[in-house]
């Protein structure tokens, strides 16, 4: 296939997912999405914009217009370093950083996060460690990250690892909280609350549908 065939250059309005902007806007503070004036200040401020496939301003515009697939598959959302430079400058006080985080979460939920892409792998590994032990141990996480994405990096970083070890900065002991059970209860309760909220939402939609008929 030629490049223009494999890459959707045309998007017809009928293909756009118009529920997507509403879904994203349901996050705390999410209605701000519709207040963006497309001034581009965020893109101009972002130190990572040069590396992104769509600038932050475009991500906002595309989310609003329903380009769900492009947005959730973009590298932009994984490149955002959460530096908040854009959010501070935005004339409409939009928390762009939080939108980026929300889009990452959605990409993971939909299973479209790039599978061996290190940023997404690190996010998952970090979370797993904290879920199990309540704390994270950076040195161990980095090892796992390299093992899962690019084992060659372990070798190329061996020297740095050795220097850190000698300075007492590289620990191989996994840190943990004492009350692990409490962490588990806490996180499980969040899951339960989410499930309830989801069922409530479904029920509301069904009721609305029935009333309409």
């Amino acid at each position: 296939m030629r490049e223009w065939q494999s890459w959707p250059r045309f998007r017809y309005e009928a293909e756009l997912d118009l529920r997507f902007p509403e879904e994203v806007a349901s996050m705390p503070g999410g209605r701000a999405l519709f207040a963006c004036i497309q001034c581009g200040t965020c893109s101009g401020t972002c130190p990572l914009a040069t590396y992104m496939d769509y600038s932050p301003r475009k991500i906002i515009a595309m989310t609003r217009a329903g380009f769900k697939e492009e947005v959730l598959h973009s590298f932009t959302i994984w490149l955002c370093a959460s530096c908040y430079a854009c959010a501070v400058e935005c004339p409409r006080k939009i928390k762009i950083t939080d939108f980026m985080a929300e889009l990452k979460q959605r990409a993971i939920q939909e299973g479209v996060d790039p599978k061996r892409f290190p940023v997404a792998v690190l996010a998952r590994e970090f979370f797993e460690a904290v879920r199990k032990r309540g704390r994270s141990t950076e040195s161990l996480l980095v090892l796992r990250l390299y093992a899962k994405t690019n084992p060659v990096q372990i070798l190329s970083q061996a020297l740095l690892g050795w220097r850190l070890l000698r300075k007492g900065r590289f620990s191989l002991r996994a840190e943990s909280v004492k009350n692990r059970q409490q962490i588990e209860q806490l996180l499980r309760a969040v899951d339960a609350a989410k499930a309830t909220a989801f069922i409530d939402k479904l029920a509301r939609e069904v009721r609305r549908e029935v009333a309409y008929r």
């Binding site: 996050m27 705390p28 503070g29 130190p47 990572l48 590396y51 490149l79 370093a81 959460s82 530096c83 908040y84 430079a85 959010a87 501070v88 928390k95 950083t97 985080a101 929300e102 990452k104 979460q105 990409a107 993971i108 996060d113 290190p118 940023v119 997404a120 690190l122 996010a123 998952r124 970090f126 979370f127 460690a129 904290v130 309540g134 704390r135 994270s136 141990t137 950076e138 040195s139 980095v142 990250l145 740095l160 850190l164 300075k167 007492g168 900065r169 590289f170 620990s171 840190e175 909280v177 409490q182 962490i183 209860q185 806490l186 996180l187 309760a189 969040v190 339960a192 609350a193 989410k194």
Partner: protein, 295 residues
């Protein structure tokens, strides 16, 4: 005086020199820091992508524990790591602003037999030093002034953006004031809040390395002898990848990168070892009389 102290994962591992220097320099100022019992990861890790609500829940457990441990009505919790400081403050803001967050988190805390009455103040050590203890008090205790030392003060992204109210978001100055009070000079360095690359340094070095390189290069061009940081990740990125930068950009990049609390401790006369100076990869010591000396 006594405050509660939240170390966070990073200060117990790769960046323990930050913890050592915070504790030692505060001790030299007669301030005691009491570690939060059985603290857990602040939640920054979960926030990165996986689940924001869980990140709030993790942060809230720490706040609840602080409330229990602090004897007075509204305990102050000191968080030196920028990431932790941000997430703990953000959780407080979100619990106040969005009833849905507040309801879910209160429910989760209850399920874990905890409760949080919103009384904790989360503060950064820089804020405490400049706004509680005060510059005059600190300069009166300086034993070895950092005379002749040119410092580039690096605040990084997350201590002044977006929730902190203790300093300006675009051009923060508290660390500059502190360094001058210790006898040092500060260089005018507009990149003081520009992103160092954060965790991209580990995940996508092709993107991370140039970001940190630009910061150091600008600091060197402006004649800085040392970069002072207030964040474990910034310190790690700026210090530990200098070899890599030198190779990638085909020129020697070498400048010590220390914690601002290490410089504070040195000026207060704390022995180097107690400040974790021996853990630096690019060595930094003060010569007699306070002049700069680095190998």
């Amino acid at each position: 005086m006594k405050y509660l102290y939240y170390p966070g994962c990073s200060l117990k591992g790769t960046n323990r020199a930050y913890e050592e220097s915070v504790l030692a320099s505060f001790h030299a100022l007669n301030i005691e820091l009491e570690e939060l019992e059985d603290w857990n990861c602040c939640g920054a890790t979960a926030y990165m992508a996986v689940d924001e609500m869980k990140s709030f829940a993790l942060a809230a457990r720490n706040l609840a524990l602080a409330e229990r441990q602090g004897q007075d009505g509204s305990p102050t919790l000191i968080a030196p790591c920028s990431g932790c400081y941000l997430v703990l403050s953000k959780t407080q803001h979100y619990m106040e602003e969005y009833s849905e967050v507040s309801r879910t988190i209160d429910g989760a805390l209850q399920a874990a037999r905890l409760s949080y009455a919103r009384t904790v103040h989360v503060r950064h050590p820089l804020d405490i030093l400049v706004n509680e203890i005060g510059i005059p008090q600190i300069s009166s205790k300086v034993q070895r002034p950092l005379r002749g030392l040119k410092v580039a003060c690096y605040y990084g992204c997350q201590i002044v953006r977006p929730y902190a109210a203790f300093d300006d978001q675009v051009n923060p100055k508290t660390m500059d004031h502190l360094m001058r009070a210790l006898g040092a000079e500060t260089v005018d360095w507009p990149l003081k809040t520009r992103c160092c690359g954060g965790s991209l340094m580990g995940t996508l070095p092709d993107v991370g390395v140039p970001l940190s390189y630009i910061l150091l290069k600008e600091a060197l061009k402006r004649g800085a002898h040392v970069v002072a940081t207030a964040c474990p990740l910034c310190q790690f990125n700026l210090e530990c990848y200098q070899d890599k930068m030198s190779r990638q950009f085909q020129e020697r990049v070498e400048i010590p990168v220390v914690y601002f609390t290490q410089l504070l401790g040195l000026a207060l006369g704390v022995p180097e070892r107690q400040l974790g100076m021996h853990r630096l990869l690019v060595p930094f010591t003060l010569a007699r009389g306070g002049a700069r000396l680095h190998a």
